[in-house]
Amino acid sequence: MRRAFFFAVLLLTSAGARAEFSGNVAVEGQAFGESAQFDQQFDSNVTLSFEPRWNGEWNDADDLWSLELFLRADDGDAGREHADIREALWLRIDGDNEWRVGINTMFWGVAESQHLVDVINQIDQVEGIDGEDKLGQPMIHLKRYQDWGVLDFLVLPGFRERTFQSAAGRLRTPLVVDTEQAAYESSDEERHVDYAFRFSQTYGDLDLGVSWFRGTSRDPLLLPGSDRDGNPVLIPFYQQMAQLGVDAQWIYRDWIWRLEFIRREARSNDYGAYVAGFEYTFYGIVETDIDFGTLVEYSADSRPEGEGGAFDHDIFVGGRFGFNDAQSSEILAGFVIDTENRGRSFRVEGSRRFGASWKGTLELQTFSNIDADDLLAALQNDDYLLLEMAYYF
């Protein structure tokens, strides 16, 4: 991280460079409705986060740089206290080629309820269970524009381990994940160089992406083991994998249809998975400015029950109210229902701006009717309410 700061300072002081500074600082309070299932877990906590960003350009904007950090300080749960470089990037624009060298965070895919084809970045799991907070990934990335599509070639040196809650953390597995014992299939361990490729193109109202990845899986197997003191723990094991991904989105009138499909091959098993669904928006409901979007997505996974991810034969049903007001008020609500064992999780999230610089977010998450053998069983006492106030600058 010190080197990244040095890099930034060097750029900032070089002739003609212009730096912009932005970001946010936020305080977050989280309270759980039921007492903890496991010893040591907290019932409520307050955390602070800081996300500064610097960016600038030189060479008549043919060269751009950016540095984005994330820091969280925690009062009770050491597992959520962490720092990460989300971005430390040099971008070179050379006609139809764009070169990105450094650390970057990127997003592939179209679905809303889960992200199957999005495999470049590791998930920052202590930041959220939705997989949308991600750790910065070192990369050399060439993006090439052709008339017939956009090509992305990525070389990914250096692997990022997934973050897991410590013993004190809520929303965790019954046994603590001992990240210090992380093991790898490849003898190169976290120094294994991964490769990825993507083709994407827009055909009228259809957007299509085909991607391929070969390297260390971002999703570890969690194997039983024991820590130094002989206590049972889970040990993350990172396999080698190859994944083919397809994502497509089609806009038809007020409908948006989405599909993500993957085929993944690894030593433990080969499997396929998909998420498919639609979003339909009602504009200006009951003669107001409010838009109401409905979302339905179905997820399936060919692995046997219990071996798969949390999303096997699940239906996501969601609604999105956009108030289109001066405060950008928004409410999102969604159910995930397991069609095989009827387990349910529900989340509602509301946000609005206060004044010019503050944004408040309220989030409620519940788990109900979870089977004892479901992956979510560990979370059944973890219904929570979260309030965040963030100051943006």
Binding site: S22, N24, N55, E57, A61, L64, S66, L91, I93, G95, D96, E98, T105, M106, F107, E132, K143, Y145, V150, S200, T202, D207, Q249, I251, R253, D254, W255, I256, T281, Y283, G284, D289, D291, N324, D325, A326, Q327, S328, R353, A356, S357, K359, A390, Y392, F393
Partner: protein, 261 residues
């Protein structure tokens, strides 16, 4: 049977009657075409926009948006909006390929998720960023988006204006009609009234502080949109207009939204 001569005579009598019945529509269309023709050839521009929202009790909030626009031969313009304020949406970008009567193609870049989302843009009657401007008020003004009717000429400030009615020809407009005051010299849109689906007056737009660029193209420095039904208003102040800055189609690609400009 008429003799050929009589038929010709009848035709001569009939044509002016038909022409005058059609002329208000024809004349309105001619004015719209002339306005578009006057503006043709600007190639591209960039500008900064300060948007001030005011509610009924006079409270204001401000947005800063950078606009880049590219003229496309035989299609609607392409435009990129980059949001600088309020701070929580800083870095958000909206890319629009407008297409006359067909729905536009539109993409949104959300910096918090580093995600580019293609969005449905068929319904453009909703408010832009909580303002009194609807998306359809800010889109590229293509001739075929409306049918027209010429009303009259009347003085408008220092100029003389054509007053024409415009009826949206695209689906899902929030308006039944608009009345536009367009000056007869350089086709500047000075004022417009917007009538809602119940045909009552909804909003009035007034533009001012016009400046000429490249010795030809006129752009307003201010645009104020008052909603008569809610008491809200929105003022757009445009500055740093630059034309022919060398923007190309490669600056308006959905994938380039991820660049940190």
């Amino acid at each position: 049977m008429f003799k050929p001569k009589t038929a010709l005579l009848l035709a001569l009598v009939a044509i002016p009657a038909a022409a005058s019945a059609q002329s208000a529509e024809q004349k309105g269309l001619e004015i719209a075409k002339a306005a578009k023709a006057y503006d043709r050839g600007f190639t591209d521009f960039s500008a900064n926009m300060i948007m001030t929202l005011k509610n009924r009790s006079g409270e204001t909030s401000t947005r800063l948006i950078r606009i880049r626009s590219l003229e496309v031969e035989g299609d609607g313009d392409r435009s990129l909006s980059i949001f600088d304020e309020p701070a929580d949406v800083k870095g958000t970008k909206m890319l629009t390929y407008s297409h006359g009567l067909e729905p536009d193609d539109q993409w949104l870049y959300l910096p918090a998720l580093k995600r580019v989302k293609r969005i449905s843009s068929r319904n453009k009657s909703g408010p832009f960023m909580g303002s009194t401007f609807a998306f359809e008020d800010l889109g590229s003004q293509e001739v075929e988006k409306y049918t027209y009717r010429y009303l009259r000429e009347e003085p408008c400030g220092d100029w003389t204006c054509h007053v024409i009615e415009r009826y949206p020809a695209y689906e899902f407009s929030g308006y039944t009609r608009q009345v536009a005051w367009i000056d007869s010299e350089a086709y500047r849109l000075v004022k417009a009234e917007f009538y809602d689906r119940k045909k009552t007056l909804l909003k009035t737009l007034t533009a001012g502080d016009f400046r000429q660029y490249l010795g030809h193209y006129w752009r307003p420095g201010t645009m104020n949109m008052v909603n008569h039904q809610t008491g809200k208003s929105t003022l757009l102040e445009w500055n740093d207009y630059q034309f022919r800055t060398g923007l190309t189609e490669s600056d308006f690609r959905s994938q380039t939204l991820k660049r940190n400009d």
